[in-house]
C-alpha cells in the first residue's frame, strides 16, 4: 500500500482553529500549507480538466461541510435497497482504482476533509434521537475510503468511541487499506464493523493501484477481529475474466485460512458496473485496464453491467463457496434487482423494509442491536 502524503495542505481559513485541522497539521508537519480565505477563489483550479484527477489528489483540502453529512444511500433505480446511510466526512480517495466511479462523480479534484466533525456527530445524534428504537447502519466509505487517510486525520479515533456509545447505530468503516493502527486499542462495543473490499491479487495489482495487497488487507482484518471488531467483506466489484472462478476460489481459501468466519458480519457481492461516461476516463487514466473488454449491457439505471447470466453464475459460485465454509455467513447482493436475488438465493426481499430487517436480524444474531 502506498501511504498518502499530500504535496500541499490547503486550508480554508474558517477552519484553521478546528481540532481536525490541528490534527492534520500535527501529522503533516513538513507539508507546505496554503491558507485560502474564500473557497470561491479555487473555482478555476477546481474545474476539470484544469487540475487533473491525479494532480488534484495531491492537494488535501480542509474545509467545513455546509450541507447534510448523513444521507440515505442512493442505491440504484429498480434494485433492492438495503436502507443504508452514508456519512461523508471525507470526499475523494487517495487510491487509484481504475474502475472508481468517483472519477466522474465528484465535482472537484481535491482530497477533501470536512473538519466540522462535531456538527456531523450532532447530526447523527439528532437522527437517532428522532427515531428512537430504529436501528441505523451507516458508513463513511461511499465517496471515500474510510481508513486511507486515518494516519493523517485520526478520524477513526473520534468515530469509534462515538458509535460505541450509541444504542441504535452501527458504523461501517469500509476500506482497501491496511491502516488499522488507530483502531486497535479502542473498544467498539460491538457498534463498529470494519469491512474490506476484496479482489484476487492479480486484479488488485492491475486495477486497484496504491491500495493494500490482499495479504495486507486480510492481515489487517485479522488484527481488527482480534481487537474485537466485527468484520465484513465486499466482493464488489466482482470482476469477470476467463480465470475468475479459480481466482476467486483461491481468494476465498486465503480469506478463510486467515479469518474466523464466525466473526464475519456480512459479505456483499456486486458485479462490476459503470456509468457509460466513466469509460473514456478509465481509458485515458488507465490505458492498461482490462475491465472494459467484457460484454456489458445497459441496465435500467443506465449503468453498464455484465450480462445477467454471467453475474448470476458468479454470484451463485461465490455464494456456494462461502456457504461451504460457513453456512451462517450473511451474504447479500449489492445493486441487484429482486429477480437476480431470486435466481441466486431462491428468494428476494420484497421491499426495502424486508432488506433492512435482514441486516437487523443479522445484527441481532451478532448482538448488535
Amino acid at each position: 500500500m502506498i501511504r498518502y502524503q499530500p504535496s500541499t495542505v490547503m486550508i480554508d481559513n474558517r477552519v484553521l482553529g478546528s481540532p481536525m485541522t490541528q490534527t492534520v497539521i500535527k501529522n503533516l508537519p513538513d507539508v507546505p500549507r496554503r491558507i485560502i480565505s474564500d473557497p470561491a477563489e479555487l473555482t478555476p483550479e477546481m474545474r476539470f480538466p484544469g487540475t487533473s484527477i491525479t494532480v488534484g489528489k495531491r492537494t488535501l483540502f480542509l474545509t467545513a461541510h455546509k450541507g447534510k453529512f448523513l444521507k440515505k444511500c442512493p442505491g440504484t433505480a429498480g434494485e433492492v435497497c438495503c436502507n443504508y446511510y452514508v456519512l461523508n466526512p471525507l470526499s475523494n480517495c487517495s487510491f487509484e482504482c481504475s474502475y472508481c466511479f468517483l472519477q466522474t462523480y465528484l465535482n472537484n479534484p481535491f482530497l477533501v476533509v470536512y473538519t466540522n466533525m462535531e456538527e456531523m456527530l450532532e447530526e447523527v445524534e439528532a437522527a437517532l434521537a428522532a427515531n428512537p428504537g430504529r436501528p441505523f447502519r451507516m458508513g463513511t466509505g461511499e465517496i471515500a475510503d474510510s481508513l486511507a487517510l486515518d494516519h493523517i486525520t485520526e478520524m477513526s479515533r473520534l468515530l469509534v468511541p462515538f458509535f460505541a456509545a450509541q444504542k441504535d447505530a452501527l458504523l461501517e468503516l469500509k476500506t482497501k487499506s491496511a491502516q488499522v493502527e488507530n483502531l486497535l486499542d479502542l473498544d467498539p462495543k460491538g457498534r463498529v464493523v470494519i469491512s474490506w473490499s476484496l479482489n484476487p491479487q492479480r486484479i488488485i495489482s492491475q486495477e486497484e493501484h496504491k491500495t493494500a495487497s490482499l495479504e495486507e488487507r486480510l492481515s489487517a482484518a485479522r488484527r481488527c477481529q482480534e481487537a474485537g471488531y466485527k468484520i465484513g467483506f465486499h466482493f464488489d466489484p466482482l470482476i469477470y475474466s476467463p480465470r475468475w472462478e479459480k481466482e476467486y476460489k483461491e481468494l476465498l481459501d486465503q480469506l478463510f485460512s486467515v479469518i474466523d468466519s464466525r466473526q464475519i458480519l456480512w459479505v456483499s457481492l456486486g458485479g462490476f458496473r459503470y456509468p457509460p461516461e466513466l469509460k473514456e476516463v478509465m481509458e485515458e487514466r488507465f490505458p492498461k485496464t482490462r475491465l472494459l473488454y467484457e460484454e456489458f449491457v445497459p441496465g435500467q439505471d443506465g449503468k453498464m453491467r455484465y450480462l445477467r447470466q454471467v453475474r448470476i453464475q458468479m454470484y451463485r459460485t461465490l455464494h456456494a463457496l462461502i456457504r461451504s465454509r460457513n453456512p451462517r455467513v450473511f451474504i447479500y447482493l449489492c445493486m441487484e434487482g429482486p429477480d437476480v436475488w431470486k435466481d441466486v438465493f431462491g428468494w428476494s426481499p420484497h421491499c426495502q423494509v424486508t432488506a433492512n430487517e435482514l441486516f437487523h436480524e443479522q445484527g441481532g444474531r451478532h448482538e448488535f442491536f
Binding site: 480538466p49 460484454e295 445497459p298 453491467r305 450480462l307
Partner: protein, 339 residues
C-alpha cells in the same frame, strides 16, 4: 501598412511594402509557416485562373529571395497556372521565425476555423521547430486556437501529429471529432494502415467510425490479435467483396461481423431470441423486437391497426401468444442476457 498583434504579450507594428513578386523569387523549400491541411487547390485554382490573386501574399525576406509567410495555396495556384508574378506584402523589417509563424497563425485563425489536423501540426511546429515551451503553448496558443488552456487538451491534439498523412486526410475530410480521431493513436502503425484501407473500402460516416474504432480496439484486447490480422480475416473480406452488394450494404455487413466478434454472447442471444420470435410466426401488424444491445432485458411489442376490427384480431393474437409455452421459452432465453 498593416498592424499585427503578436501573441505572448508583445505587440509590435509590422510595416509592409507592396510589391509585384516574381514566382522565381520565392524560396519555397521550407513550409514552416504553411498551416493549411489539406492543401487542396481545386477552388483557388479556379479563382486565380478567373480573376487572379485577389489578396496579396505576405512574404519575408530571406537573403536575396522571399519566403512565404501567408499564402501558400495562392502561390501554388500561381505556379500551377504558370503565372510569373503575384501581388505581395513584404515585411520591411526582418521577421523572426516565431514572429512569422505567429503572423501566419493569426492570419489563419481570423479567417476560418482550423481543423484538428491543422491544430495538431501547429502544436507540433511550435514545440519541435520553434522550441516554444509547453507551458507557453498551453497558456498562449491554445486560446488562440479556440481551445481551453489545459495540458490534457494540448496532449490530445498534439498526439494527432503522429498519425500518417492518410489518416490526417481522413480526419480532416470527415471532420472527425477529437475524441474519435485520437482513438487512432491507440492502434499500432501497421494497424493504422490496415484500418485506413478498411475505411476506404467501407465508406463510413462519423458515427460509424466512432462506433467501430472502440470495437476493433476491444477485439484486439479480447482476442490478442492485431487489428490488421483481424481485418484480413476471410469472413470479413467476404463482407467487403464488391460482389456482395452496394457499398452501404457491404458496410453494414462488415459492421455486423465486427459487432458479433465484439459481443459474441449478446449476439448469440440476440440471434436465438430472433429465431424464436420468427418461429412464433406472428402476423405482420403484430411484432416483437429485441431491443438494441438487449437494453432492459425486455422485448418490445407493437401492433398497428386501421380499425377496431383489426385491433380486435391483433389483441386475439396477443392473447393467444400470452398463454403459449413458446412465449415462456422466449422470455426464458431473453432473461439470460438481461442487465
Amino acid at each position: 501598412m498593416q498592424v499585427a498583434e503578436m501573441p505572448g504579450g508583445s505587440c509590435r507594428l509590422i510595416t509592409y511594402e507592396f510589391v509585384e513578386a516574381q514566382v522565381d523569387q520565392i524560396d519555397d523549400s521550407q513550409q514552416r509557416f504553411c498551416l493549411t491541411f489539406p492543401l487542396d487547390l481545386q477552388r483557388i485554382l479556379r479563382s486565380v485562373a478567373q480573376v487572379g490573386v485577389l489578396e496579396p501574399l505576405i512574404l519575408r525576406r530571406a537573403e536575396s529571395r522571399y519566403q512565404i509567410v501567408c499564402g501558400f495555396r495562392r502561390f501554388l495556384a500561381c505556379k500551377a497556372l504558370n503565372r510569373t508574378a503575384f501581388p505581395a506584402l513584404v515585411c520591411r523589417d526582418p521577421l523572426s521565425d516565431r514572429q512569422a509563424f505567429d503572423l501566419a497563425l493569426w492570419h489563419n485563425v481570423s479567417a476560418r476555423r482550423l481543423n484538428d489536423v491543422e491544430i495538431s501540426r501547429i502544436l507540433r511546429k511550435l514545440q519541435k521547430d520553434l522550441g516554444v515551451p509547453q507551458e507557453e503553448i498551453i497558456r498562449t496558443y491554445l486560446p488562440i486556437l479556440g481551445l481551453e488552456p489545459h495540458e490534457t487538451i494540448r496532449r490530445r491534439y498534439a498526439g494527432l501529429a503522429n498519425l500518417s498523412e492518410g489518416l490526417h486526410l481522413l480526419i480532416a475530410e470527415k471532420n472527425l471529432p477529437i475524441q474519435v480521431s485520437s482513438l487512432f493513436l491507440r492502434f499500432s502503425a501497421e494497424d493504422q494502415e490496415a484500418l485506413l484501407n478498411f475505411l476506404h473500402m467501407v465508406p463510413s460516416g462519423v458515427n460509424r467510425i466512432k462506433e467501430m474504432l472502440p470495437y476493433l480496439l476491444e477485439i484486439r484486447e479480447r482476442e490478442g490479435i492485431s487489428v490488421a490480422e483481424f481485418l484480413r480475416e476471410p469472413e470479413l473480406a467476404r463482407c467487403l467483396d464488391e460482389k456482395s452488394g452496394p457499398a452501404p450494404q457491404r458496410s453494414e455487413k462488415a459492421r455486423e461481423y465486427i459487432v458479433r466478434r465484439r459481443f459474441p454472447q449478446l449476439s448469440r442471444l440476440k440471434e436465438e431470441v430472433n429465431q424464436k420470435i420468427r418461429a412464433l410466426d406472428l402476423p405482420p401488424p403484430v411484432s416483437l423486437v429485441f431491443p438494441p444491445g438487449g437494453e432492459g432485458g425486455k422485448l418490445r411489442a407493437s401492433i398497428e391497426f386501421p380499425s377496431k376490427k383489426e385491433l380486435e384480431q391483433e389483441i386475439a393474437v396477443l392473447q393467444k401468444l400470452l398463454v403459449s409455452s413458446e412465449l415462456d421459452d422466449l422470455l426464458g432465453v431473453l432473461s439470460r442476457g438481461s442487465p
